[in-house]
Amino acid sequence: MQNFEQYNSIITTGVYGSAIALILIGLYAVLIKKHLIKIVIGLSIIDAGVHLLFVAIGYIKGGTAPIFSPGNEDAVNKMVDPVPQALVLTAIVIGFAVTAVALSLVIRLYKHHNTARIDQIKSLKW
């Protein structure tokens, strides 16, 4: 990773750009799409983007994973920030829980109305 500097801007654009792109794509799906499952997919794509951003802000150029394996006890100074990683762990699990509840609501809506499209479920129009 010696030449990291040289490609830094590419990597930055790659990480931040794709994370922001994910958020925007998800937002688009939630706002435009009419099918409930598509909306939930949109939500989980937004979540994915946010998680990527979260890990990205903890990354340090040329850093190593924050694990003290035998032999690298002296690597403290090179380790990436462990806190965002811990927070993302929590966020991923919470995101899964919310997705599960959302999908169960979709299933119930489908049973009531025999459709999963917003434009055909009256009370969901807003």
């Binding site: 931040y16 937002l27 340090i60 100074n77 699990v93 509840v101």
Partner: protein, 239 residues
Amino acid sequence: MKKVLVLVLLVIVGYFLTDTFNLIPFGENRIGNPQDEQTVAGYYLNNTVEKTSVANTVTAIVVNYRGFDTLGEVTVLFLATTGLGSILFRRKEDEEEIERINKPSSSLMQTGSRVLFPLIALLGIYVFIHGHLTPGGGFQGGAIIATGFLLMLISYKNFKAGHTMLNWVESLAGITFVSIGLWGLLTGGTFLENVLPAGELNNLISGGVIPIIYIAVGFKVAAELTGVLDILLNIKPKK
């Protein structure tokens, strides 16, 4: 019309986010020199080995420094399972023919999953037992075990995932977590305090209560996720 509005909104949000993250350079060292302990992260990196004997700093943060978050997170999963149960609940009368939708799967599938299941479960258990030494831990191991149960649920029509066992594992793991927390409180310390000796770095038995909590989290997560899958797979198909 709506599409145009949404696109305008997307442009605004995109601009806003790009603008914000332009001010936060990627890959920059924000935690300072760990020895200075200027930031929380620096403190963690500098002290974790010495104070908790946990090799994986992320585990130390998740289970010990921010253990309260993890307790909340396990609760979120538990509540999601409970909520799922109440949302998809069937009355007795429309329960005449609950039959898993699956056609009985092929014997290849059945044999395959019977062979694979113990291996997957073993991998999951390995992952969460070594959570304080290597990457991985309760959530990861629990999720891996849940995928093993998924295989069984799909290939065996009548595999009920042992509801009794599931209930017991779920409750006992949760009780263990909270009880360890209360143990700290009872012995005059604080909630979730690490009451056991830290031990030696890179030993399987080290880190005090951290591995115990992470194993409890692993079982809890496995049970909750299996519960979610079980509820979802048991939905009566529409005619």
